[in-house]
Subunit: 475 residues, 2 copies
């Protein structure tokens, strides 16, 4: 397999100068202030400072991004000639409808000023989409994936494409952990999580089939969100296991997480909680495999919640969840061999050994066993719904512990598998620090379809400082 | 919108000579005999005879198809040099494993000798994929859709790409009904159904989001099958409404329908029924909108079944199905506006008026209403399952009546909507003839996941002559 960097458009590799570092201090944790052009310049300064070590991007053309930002700013003020004019850009109209009698009204662009990174398994019409495999080197799709088009329509500026593990599975790309370059950032949405952690992007798209959003969010110390299965269209996304594949995203604030949800789903913005939430702590059967820092992330968060007036209850693990996480890989490989058919048939020798072995397991899986697992899944999803009659969200580990050393693995997705199987919305809050100082998240899980409430709980935590503002990684 | 024929590669337009007509008489209803090369030549003779009037193909390059057939025949006998050798091709090895000590063993190619038509919403790496819209004129995907790759791996020869309604919705392409060119073949999988009805293909892929397999199968007088939702990967298929989009297919025999299912799912071939089936006649709330011929198709089939020893029971319409078919369009347009985002945003002026209006309805749909419908859908699917404890399959209309006159509509999908919503496997059997002599099908519906039993019932009907062998359309 050719090096994952082979096809990337290289950007400035000079180390960060003093000026760049100073400017980074002005990057707000939230992003999203000012014009699209200002936001892109801010992001490009972060790129100059971090990218030589972090390797989050597989394609990044600064001039193309600047052009896109100018177009967005022009849309906001309703006149291309006003592009980049700070005064005009500061007062976008909310109507978005052109006027026949006066200057063209600006569009309502709720994501203007947010810089977007796009995992390289989402099609983009104006940039290559290579899916982390040499099979697709130089591939140019005809159209943007639906999620990309929705975020651009809402005014986000796509800075570039971010590194993905091979075909969004396990074999890593070159991205390093932005907090320590000898450690993995997690995967498969590794470039997106790292870009957000460094301020190279304010928001970034990922996908999750096992734990590909939850794990890198936790390892990189940012917020991550996987919405209810099926609530965001996968059109234009490279599929791996269609009954599991879910579009997700990263941000440095709960507010940005929710703004992306609104743009992707067309649903109303979340309302603040009317009262302190009820949290159910769920120590799943994998609890024993948790490192101390991940247990502590859950237990300390539960303690802080209680201190702030939330009701925290222990939820016994329901029997219908027994062993369900452990059979997620069966579903994944069974579907993968019927989804990556062309790739395996035409280019098996260009797939990584790990992916080939996974496909072999898929070929060997009995369809009757798959059917039994899928039936259990449906039953568990239906029964879990009742559990949310008594709690607002569940609190459970996100990861085994802090990011492991080395760049040859993306870490263990075991704590995310269950919730991908159940289709629940699930969020990482960057709440703790491990024994060597790397971030550790905790996972909150909501009722299927009640994504807004889950994100309202996340916002409630952040407003009270229970979850600290994420540290922007230092170059 | 440019004419749908604008981008097609034209094939021989000379009328069918006497020789072609004579040869057509040798086309078996089943197809699938002989080598791939023989099958392609047979199909190309049917193309010469029918295509000038039927317009089923949007791309067909005979030389490319012949080359593919030769490659398949070479794979079957295990040596490229033996390609096209009838004696060697007649004895393919079933092992598929290369031998180091003797001549290379041939692959097991269960679909060899079947000519495949592929609806032009499935990606193909070696042929354009234009999705029935000028937006994608000349589009060349990088890879085959999973379903296409699976059928090719099993030895089917892809003859070309078949006409689809615009983006698999309602605005028709140029295909005419192979039994009467002034009438619609149905849609959106119009070219695939017409190709199979004329012997231009033995099997053909389609998709169904409302009634895009069931309706054209009925109008063209062939077997059509929509499997359990999610059982065939949609990777590489142009999506429209992801919670509804289902890969389906057409054939002239129940055996071919089942062989395609086996190739696409990797599941065992269907076993013959051990005893006469129990059939539940379901006169859904749409029954009153049935034309006499469609009611007769159901009632005559029920009568024949009884005469052949099947138990036929009337199934009262369960209350949980009330009004569910009527809200299918709401789900469809709600999801379409979040799926065809790039197309609407960049090329709204190149979409048909009908599709633009549908997208406008989608934008106006309240997410809360969509959620209520989706919750009803899940509940109905779960409760319907119990109904199959007492019947093997349900018998219900496929269409309002025979194909309507005119080529500006693809007909009414109302009798398919319910089963697309419920994710059940569903088959059309070409059982009757309408008042003007056009075909009329009846629809059989099985339990979710029990596709093999449904197709076994279809085979049982055909073996007893209850469903006559489909008439091959005459040029």
């Amino acid at each position: 397999m050719a090096g994952p960097a082979a096809g990337r458009q290289l950007i400035g590799r000079t180390g960060p100068g003093r000026a760049a570092l100073d400017t980074l201090a002005t990057v707000t944790a939230s992003g999203g202030s000012g014009t699209a052009s200002e936001a892109v310049e801010r992001a490009l300064r972060a790129v100059a400072a971090h990218e030589p070590v972090v390797h989050a991007w597989t394609h990044l053309d600064p001039e193309r991004a600047r052009r896109e930002a100018r177009e967005i700013d022009a849309r906001a003020v309703g006149s291309p000639s006003a592009a980049g004019s700070p005064s005009a850009a500061g007062s976008p109209s909310a109507t978005g409808s052109p006027s026949a009698t006066g200057p063209r009204a600006g569009e309502d662009l709720p994501l203007r000023g947010l810089v977007l990174g796009v995992k390289d398994v989402f099609d983009t019409a104006d940039q290559p989409t290579e899916c982390g495999t040499p099979i697709y080197t130089g591939r140019r799709p005809s159209a943007d994936a639906a999620a990309v088009a929705l975020l651009r329509a809402a005014g986000a500026t796509c800075l570039g494409k971010t590194v993905t593990a091979e075909l969004a599975f396990l074999t890593p790309g070159p991205t390093t952990n932005p907090h320590r370059p000898t450690h993995t950032p997690g995967g498969s949405s590794m470039g997106s999580a790292a870009a957000v952690a460094t301020g190279m992007a304010d928001i970034a798209l990922g996908t999750q089939t096992a734990g590909s959003v939850i794990r890198p969010a936790s390892f990189c110390g940012v917020y991550g969100f996987k919405p209810t299965f099926g609530s965001v269209s996968v059109a234009g996304v490279k599929l791996f296991a269609p009954s599991l594949d879910t579009v997700g995203w990263f941000a440095r604030t709960p507010a940005a997480l929710d703004r992306v949800r609104v743009a992707l789903t067309g649903r109303p913005a979340g309302m603040p909680l009317a009262s302190a939430p009820v949290i159910g702590v769920l120590r799943t059967e994998e609890w024993q495999s948790c490192a101390p820092e991940s247990r502590r992330a859950v237990e300390d968060l539960a303690g802080s919640l209680t201190a702030h007036g939330a009701r925290v209850v222990e939820v016994p693990v329901p029997d219908y969840l027994d062993g369900l996480a452990a059979v997620q890989p069966l579903v994944m490989v069974y579907e993968a061999v019927r989804t990556l058919v062309w790739e395996e048939r035409m280019h098996r020798d260009r797939l990584s050994e790990g992916l080939r072995a996974a496909l072999d397991r898929g070929h060997a899986t009995d369809p009757a066993e798959y059917d039994r697992v899928q039936a259990r899944r449906r039953e568990a999803t239906a029964r879990l719904d009742g559990l949310f009659d008594t709690v607002d969200v569940l609190l459970t580990p996100a990861v085994v512990g802090e990011a492991p050393a080395g760049l040859d693995t993306t870490g263990d997705p075991r704590f995310a598998r269950l919730w991908t199987m159940l289709g629940t919305p699930s969020a990482v809050v960057p709440v703790a620090t491990g024994p060597t100082g790397l971030p550790v998240g905790a996972q909150l899980v909501g009722r299927v379809g009640d994504d807004a409430r889950l994100l309202a709980v996340v916002a409630w935590l952040a407003e009270r400082g229970i979850v600290p503002e994420p540290r922007l990684a230092r170059p």
